[in-house]
Symmetry: C2
Subunit: 483 residues, 2 copies
Amino acid sequence: MKKDQGVNVNKKKISDLFGKELKIANLGLESMAVSLETQDIQVQQIDWKPPRQVVPNLMYTDTDISIEDANQEAVNRIMGSKAVLVGMGIAKDVIPGMHDRMILHAGPPVEWERMCGPTRGAVMGALIYEGFTQDEKEAEKLAASGEFEFSPCHHHQTVGPMAGIVSPRMPVFIVENPVWNVRAYATLNEGLGKVLRYGGMGEEVYKRLSWMEEVLYPNLSNALEKIPGGIDLKNLIAQALHMGDECHNRNRAGTSLFMRSIAPSLIRVQKNPEDIAKIFEFINSNDHFFLNLSMPAGKAMLLPAEGVEGCTILTVMARNGTDFGIRIASMPDRWFTAPAGVVDGLYLPGFSEQDANPDIGDSTITETAGFGGFAMAAAPAITQFVGGSPSLAHDITLEMYEITQTEHKDFTIPSLGFRGTPLGIDVRRVMETGILPRINTGIAHRKPGIGMVGAGMLRAPKKCFVDAFNEFNKIYCSKKENE
Amino acid sequence: MKKDQGVNVNKKKISDLFGKELKIANLGLESMAVSLETQDIQVQQIDWKPPRQVVPNLMYTDTDISIEDANQEAVNRIMGSKAVLVGMGIAKDVIPGMHDRMILHAGPPVEWERMCGPTRGAVMGALIYEGFTQDEKEAEKLAASGEFEFSPCHHHQTVGPMAGIVSPRMPVFIVENPVWNVRAYATLNEGLGKVLRYGGMGEEVYKRLSWMEEVLYPNLSNALEKIPGGIDLKNLIAQALHMGDECHNRNRAGTSLFMRSIAPSLIRVQKNPEDIAKIFEFINSNDHFFLNLSMPAGKAMLLPAEGVEGCTILTVMARNGTDFGIRIASMPDRWFTAPAGVVDGLYLPGFSEQDANPDIGDSTITETAGFGGFAMAAAPAITQFVGGSPSLAHDITLEMYEITQTEHKDFTIPSLGFRGTPLGIDVRRVMETGILPRINTGIAHRKPGIGMVGAGMLRAPKKCFVDAFNEFNKIYCSKKENE
């Protein structure tokens, strides 16, 4: 999956393309000019920004709430939050509203008929794993039968990467935000390749899930019970951002720090040493293990912003592989959706764009919470996984400051002089600037049963933001003179 | 120890200083201008480099060896090397030339009379730990008695951080370079604060050393025996450089990756689970643990360059707290020394420059091997520990390319577009450019018995390079017309 990177490679490509010395005039974003200059290309920098969109300048709601103040309140709540891994449990026992015949999925609501391939695959796989059937065709019929209720993870304080399927029997992490006394939930990460969350089906998938339920879960859970106060995930994210992670698609540091945090307790609660050794091997073989902790941490810190009146900050971005959906703080129960986008990515050997499902998963909670793709400047090495170049990773973070309310006080980026990460996507700023949020993501095969095929980057679709902005304007600002 | 960092802080300081808008002309290093521009200060960049020193331009030796070719051979040997942790042993059993009455120390040779405070403290502490006496005054007498032979670590394929004391009973790591069939050795890292290698003495120091000998060593050693092929330290260093370490004074990632590598085996060989839990707690509490692995890895990879005829590349930079010494590949047994420098640093609460011993330790093997201070651009967060700013860390790496033979093929820096680290300090280039190698380092209290007081940065002293260059010129190039 590794691509040749760096300045020299680009330089070759550009000169190959034009076959002569280039002189370039660069409009706007200055870091683009700097990138070119490092390739010995002459650049004339011209100060220019895209013309602002002609959209109403929303300042106050009809009830005289200052939108700026409301937005600041929201990001203050997010930044002032904590996220602590306090324990684990079984989905049907601990997730609010979960029941024996419920299957949670990533993204906004979607019925079986409109579900994409990997989500269908993951649902079918989950039904087999749950023991409702042992046959894929039978599982497909069952899924379509109406016997099971499908519900978005986000309706249950839960987040799921990729297909995001949570079935009743699955063990989940419980992440608490003690400042606001709220909790968020996520399953355990299975690794990459042919895994359920990418729509993978088959014996190896169910066997791994069973081992996670029978060995990984009870041991981790027992270990956590012996750690007074739990494990401070916000602190681990802050550290990981200083160690080359952005905590969405690069979690090598976070995974390492989690292992360091839980190791002594895990050893003390052991019943079978070989189980503990296998647990360390499993986590060590999967640098994405921490993703399923950074995601509920993001969710737990965003929850307190839900319901802030007059606020235009996003509390959710999520995709089900068919639709991309956003929710804003002042309308926490509304989804604004658009078709899920196509990912520009690097592919595993034997796969190409033809195999790719559109954008999928709840993992964009990380960007919403001020890390993930928004903190890519902290994680230049991620470009070996998702494509692009370190200078692009740097530019992406700089660009996201244009559409966010503030800079995070606790999540900082050393290479930007310890500047805080861009936090609080403001629908108004997205509309004004025309800059859409950047996301990095894994790519699932579009057919059920296959699994991961690559990883890449894209932007959130514009329509969600247009709809959310117009709806907010209509409901809260229609009586006010906002020009 | 954390200092306020970043652009905004600097900006304030500069405007405070001048009280008006600044217009600056920047001579030379362009990244300085970029740093100022990010502070909204007008800068006119002027291309300029310091005038080259008037030194003989050494191209060929009297026996017609191309010095450039010899230097390339040396760096090829270094880059082509591997470094594998293959096992552990007790110093007197495994270190070549070590015996029951020998004490190894960091840096070039130094007799008791000229030893600095922390080295004296560490020698005295080691004599107490070894059981020769239980009294500090008695230990001092013993050390001065001539009964013990003092010898530089580097004379025994060994490297020791700070005072670098290795006494006969101490357990050591054995790091093999299988490409050249050579081995290097280092003790285990004790942590920061009041520890032997910083000259610390007292019960807590000896108790910790005893626990390391009786619990940490046998368990790690048993675990290593069960890992086929050992642990690939070169690979861990390469990964850590992508995770915000430079593997000299920042080793949080390296320490994490080492824990991940050894954990399963450590659990499988356990005799007492509580011992294993304590080992994980010990390593988890000490982010410098990996330093004592990155150092012998550097040494093991540099050893094959020793003895390359006509070569002006450094194979050793090391300090004993009194003298700074270097050795070059073509004269591997000669030391060129100068007084050890004063460190510009950040101090622990209650300490200041007044307390600081001059520069000390063998840990500059990391810079010599193409990481450490030379890779600071990979580790911007280290500036919270050693001072400076992320942009300075970036500039330091760029500057070191001016005095090195090549860019490392296996150690790369993501934020520089995956450029290889500066490798192979060439005495000729140091003389031509007048640029002295940059080092980052811990700071020991200048009195015996106290321990660590801070961390900081400095440059190697010029005299070592002048002497090495002149000696090389005299011995190998005196008959040749080198202008």
